[in-house]
């Protein structure tokens, strides 16, 4: 029997086994921008979870001292407010920190909705092909063509008085609505992945062996499709955050005294010339979040792309 050369064996023996996930993680660690993004994302998540315990003030709490003095909002650094206060004397830093909570919730709820709808539709279409594929993809096209804003407004109106419409001060409904108009990209991605992966020779080999369809999907298709899905979800978060901000701009979303970054920017805009910090700080916060998710997503894409690996 042909004996393998000893040199390659030794080279291989010295290394620990390297799964693609591990390799990808190591590649990610070498990407500075992605790590920066990941750190900021992590901070935002921590802020969202522990925000109420660490904010200097209650987000809705008015600084009565300022009101008594009957003066305008505090400037940054004044009167114990690092980012200053808004027109009503509420601490801006605390409001931004609370806004992070809303934005991270948007990210979570929208992307979970997107995954729950997009992955099954894409997977079914790609796996079965033919008529089912045709049907599901036409449905997807129609969803895509339907005006998003109109759909969101319709949903919020229809469900307004239900339990669903009331949950989380009505925010849950808005977030889910954003998700419902955003799943098309993921569905198409998953379908494409399924279509190309099911033609691969390792899936063909599994069929030749007689591996049941269910196992082919769970063992061969999904693990290989998951990388691009993670990337798409990460890169989709800025869009979701922005969508919430835009909806806030036209008055759909967080109700006062609650404020999301979107409503903070909308309010700040009114006082832009006299109190620029009211616009500046929320804008920086949102920009930082969007950039961080984008950097992280780009880094993940580079790290997970198996085409860079494998073919040495």
């Amino acid at each position: 029997m042909a004996v393998q050369s000893t040199t390659i064996d030794r080279k291989l023996a010295e290394r620990p086994p390297a799964s693609l996930w591990r390799d990808a993680f190591e590649r990610l660690l070498r990407n500075r921008l992605a790590i920066l993004g990941a750190v900021i994302v992590l901070l935002l998540i921590l802020l969202a979870v522990f925000g109420p315990f660490i904010t200097p003030y209650e987000y809705s709490q008015t600084d009565t001292q300022l009101v008594r003095e009957a003066r305008g909002p505090a400037n940054p650094g004044e009167a114990g407010h690092l980012f200053g206060t808004d027109i009503l004397g509420r601490d801006l830093l605390s409001r931004i920190m609370d806004g992070a909570r809303i934005s991270m919730t948007v990210a979570l709820v929208v992307q979970v909705t997107v995954l729950l709808i997009g992955v099954p539709i894409g997977a079914l279409a790609g796996w079965f092909g033919g008529r089912i594929d045709n049907l599901l993809m036409r449905f997807t096209d129609i969803t895509y063509a339907f005006p998003d804003l109109l759909f969101i407004i319709l949903l919020t109106v229809v469900f307004k008085d239900t339990w669903f419409g009331g949950a989380m001060d009505g925010l849950l409904l808005v977030f889910v609505a954003i998700g419902i108009v955003s799943w098309v990209g993921v569905a198409r991605l998953v379908r494409g992945q399924m279509l190309s992966l099911k033609e691969t020779e390792y899936v063909e080999a599994a069929r030749a062996i007689g591996v049941p369809d269910r196992k082919i999907v769970t063992r061969h298709l999904l693990p290989n499709a998951i990388g691009p899905i993670i990337v798409a979800v990460t890169l989709g978060i800025p869009g979701a955050i922005l969508a919430e901000a835009l909806l806030a701009f036209i008055g759909i979303g967080a109700n006062p005294p609650r404020a999301s970054w979107g409503t903070l920017i909308t309010d700040g805009q009114t006082w832009m010339s006299s109190e620029p910090h009211l616009l500046l700080f929320p804008a920086i916060a949102i920009a930082l979040a969007l950039l961080s998710f984008t950097f992280l997503g780009d880094g993940l894409r580079d790290a997970l792309d198996p085409k860079l690996k494998g073919k040495q």
């Binding site: 029997m1 042909a2 393998q4 390659i8 030749a208 062996i209 061969h220 494998g310 040495q312």
Partner: protein, 409 residues
């Protein structure tokens, strides 16, 4: 342990058929428009009939896109047949129920061309090779691990690498992993779909030797697909030549290489260099001109007539354009699908058969004893030169040139 199935020292020239294809057709519909209306079909395999005998290696050659892979896959029911019948050991595979087919899959396997896409990159080598064992409940627990290690050793890999991932191996090693996976179910029949054409030249001979050794050890039957005639010559008992979805010639290597009866086979042989310069000078060469016609719209009559040199030489006979020639017997055990096969056999195109032996080595499959080529003897000379003993030291380093022939043992 795999018990070596007693392989008869020599198969009779006409043994019992293990795999039979009868009027096999595989068409892929071409659809268009919103409602996926079928507007035509790619006739990848279009009405072919042949069999593969127990213990034999049938070489299948032809240009890219002529339907070799589709044929191979249809034989093991990896493609749905449009029409026709495939029988395995007498059992009609087309009528089998799902569970029966799954049981049957233990007996027939496939080895792929691309060692990169044929292994799931997210699975360890151990789980790749365990999958067939689990699927058919052949072993579990310790027994399963032992079996995986045994299979790795069998294909010449270190048995301790069960927890490694495919991308940590070189192309040749990955191909061995694929071979181990297909052997795990102890099959009788393996479709080898161009198993060495994607490998470095320096490694091709090693993998080919491995396949030949395994064939001897387990008495395997192979359908060995290749896109040129030089690789299959020394390992095949019979060779089939495909053109545009049809088998145009079928016979033992001696017949195919020395008295080819189809003009297409002769054209293919023209492209294969002959090591002996005297023989090389004695033969005529034809170069295939023109594109391969589309399998969605094949030429009428004989599909080869748009490129056939004999058709031109004979003054474009009408029946070549109107009648599809059937695969008929031209010599014992030698078939060709050409109206003018006898004229083709008389010609000196592609081969130099007058007086000189085209290649000095004996042809296998020509008689008793043909079916036991010694491993290193069975490797074409072009493959043996340049074998680097170290197949893993990076792509291309052990390439062509002066590299000494490495013994396969």
């Amino acid at each position: 342990m795999i018990e070596p199935q007693a392989a008869p020292a020599a198969e009779p020239a006409t043994g019992q058929a293990l795999v039979e294809a009868e009027n096999l057709k595989v068409h892929f519909p071409i659809t268009s428009g919103l409602f996926q209306r079928t507007v035509g079909a790619v006739r990848a395999v279009d009405d072919i009939t042949f069999d593969i005998r127990k213990g034999e290696t049938l070489g299948l050659v032809g240009e890219s896109g002529c339907g070799k892979s589709t044929t191979g896959r249809a034989l093991i029911r990896l493609r749905e047949l449009t029409d026709g019948v495939v029988r395995f050991d007498g059992v009609d595979l087309t009528t089998l129920k799902r569970d029966q087919l799954r049981k049957m899959r233990r007996r027939m396997q496939i080895i792929f061309q691309d060692p990169y896409s044929s292994l799931n990159p997210r699975m360890t080598v151990g789980s790749i090779i365990s999958e067939p064992i689990e699927t058919h409940n052949l072993a579990s627990g310790r027994g399963k691990l032992e079996r995986v290690k045994e299979l790795l050793a069998l294909v010449g890999l270190n048995p301790n690498y069960t927890n490694r991932y495919p991308h940590e191996f070189s192309g040749g090693q990955r191909q061995r992993i694929g071979v181990a996976r297909s052997l795990a179910v102890e099959p009788e029949f393996i479709v080898c779909d161009e198993p060495i054409s994607a490998l470095d030249v320096s490694i091709q001979a090693q993998v080919l030797n491995l396949l030949v050794e395994l064939r001897e050890q387990f008495g395997l039957t192979y359908l060995f697909i290749a896109h040129d005639l030089s690789v299959v010559r020394h390992i095949s008992d019979r060779i089939g030549v495909m053109y545009l979805g049809k088998v145009v010639e079928l016979g033992p290597p001696a017949a195919i290489y020395e008295t080819p009866a189809h003009p297409y086979t002769r054209a293919l042989l023209s492209a294969v260099p002959i090591p002996d310069p005297r023989a090389e000078r004695r033969r005529k060469r034809v170069i295939l001109t023109g594109d391969v016609p589309s399998p969605a719209n094949p030429p009428s009559g004989c599909r080869f007539h748009t490129r056939c040199w004999l058709y031109e030489r004979l003054g474009r006979p009408e029946n070549c354009r109107t009648d599809d020639p059937e695969l008929r017997i031209v010599q014992p055990d030698h078939r060709a699908a050409c109206h003018y096969a006898e004229d083709a056999m008389q010609s000196d195109v592609g081969v130099a058969h007058i007086g000189a032996e085209p290649i000095k080595r004996k042809a296998f499959g020509a008689g008793p004893g043909a079916h036991k080529p010694v491993a290193d003897d069975s490797v074409p000379a072009t493959l043996v030169t340049g074998v680097a003993p170290d197949e893993g030291t990076g792509g291309g380093t052990g390439g062509s040139g002066t590299g000494g022939a490495a013994p396969p043992e």
